[in-house]
Symmetry: C2
Subunit: 263 residues, 2 copies
């Protein structure tokens, strides 16, 4: 038996999420079908993170065991030929028997993208949350620093409790402005340093694990900081109070990306 | 009578192009319908460039005359409320009676985006041409310099002759690499200078006017340079020979954007 690891990118717009659901097509079932078509045998995939309906992935990791002898190099284009264009196999490799995409993960990186401009942008309407009110990215970045370290994050967990513990360790949390298509607009200089200007806000967060809807609840909270309703101190108090009703709303799924998983 | 100018961005994926066609929905008819809904009167739009089916615009300019008294400030969100999310009104202003979006244009800027990577990218599958063979962006940039100046460009014109003259003046032509979502991948450093690395190739071109399919034929030609089939000297010879059959294939529409129009 070989244990095969897939590095996957997908546009989550048309899917009910990673996991098989009764009400639509899931990424998991789409990839499992491609494996069955290619290898001739059914396979069961496990993934690093079960992304929700509408959430995207650039670096989802999944693994399955198979008896098939196709080389990893040929498996990548082989699987792709049975996949729709919104699900892409970026890499295929063979891993040790005890590798498990969910349990072997040591940390995960998510990105949430906000498009912060008066008028919407038709090219990112499915790939970023459009916020037309001006957001103070510097204040949001400062407030994000409150997340760093080991805390009980139940204030950002939907349907608490649904995991054994709501304590997680956040290693990195930044908010930066970017211009995504450099030089689109005359007002953006190509020599501007990244992270200072541009209508896109990237919230990047790395942790040893995430609770249900945690990133989206953090983003809803940080946007209230960006609109100057709240400060970094309010975010500190919200975490201490451990009450979901005190934090911000859950940001919509289409701005969220699972970017990278470490093992 | 007021003469109203619109700055438009649109995702061309679902449209037959700017102009009204018998076989599907056009951007022109979509915006004209919104004007009729908002003002209560029919309007006829003229545009800077009649983008083809599947071609996008970030900075299309169009104008129409109207008796309505709605302020420009209110007209932008007003029109947007009658438009689908893939057509966006970026700005509305009032211009002199003799302004004509087509004839008053002095130069136009187009961008063609190529995604140059082994595996495709699900987020740009409708917004960039995926070329999996490695392209030499430096050689393409050098060859693009041959376009500069005033030439007869009929070698890049589909259905020649369809305009009074095929002589045009190109003021700018560059090919640069970019990483579109900075830091997606661990291998891309956020401090890398723009234009040197990344899987996206941007071909940016400014001219006083463009022939039918001209940018896409230039891109098909430059890709042959990027694949080291042709050199800058071959491109010079192709222009001199004035024969469409000698230049490269027409690149697909979904990588092309009308970026900016000068008046």
């Amino acid at each position: 038996m070989r244990n095969i690891r897939l590095l996957l990118a997908y546009d989550g717009t048309e899917y009910v999420g990673w996991q098989v659901q009764p009400n639509g097509s899931s990424v998991q079932s789409t990839v499992e079908r491609a494996i069955r078509e290619l290898t001739g045998a059914p396979a069961k995939l496990v993934a690093a993170g079960r992304t929700d309906s509408g959430v995207h992935a650039f670096g989802q990791v999944a693994n399955f065991t198979t008896e098939c002898s196709i080389s990893c190099e040929k498996m990548r284009p082989g699987l792709q030929s049975f996949l729709p264009p919104d699900v892409v196999v970026r890499n295929v490799d063979e891993v040790a028997d005890d590798f498990h995409a969910t349990y072997s993960a040591t940390k995960k990186r998510y990105r949430y993208v906000i498009y912060n401009n008066r008028a919407p942008n038709p090219f990112v309407r499915k790939y970023a949350w459009h916020c037309h009110a001006e957001l103070d990215a510097t204040a949001m970045h400062e407030a994000a620093q409150v997340l760093l370290g080991t805390h009980d994050f139940r204030c950002f967990e939907s349907q608490y409790p649904n995991k054994a513990t709501s304590v997680r360790t956040v290693m990195e949390a930044t908010v930066q402005r970017h211009s995504l298509w450099p030089e689109w607009s005359r007002s953006q200089s190509p020599t501007q340093p990244l992270g200072s200007e541009g209508p896109f806000l990237f919230f990047d967060v790395v942790a040893d694990g995430f609770l249900y809807n945690m990133v989206r609840a953090i983003v809803g909270t940080l946007v209230n900081v960006g609109r100057r309703k709240w400060t970094a101190d309010d975010v500190r108090r919200i975490i201490e109070n451990q009450d979901r009703s005190q934090s911000g709303p859950t940001a919509p799924p289409h701005g969220l990306y699972l970017v990278h998983v470490d093992y």
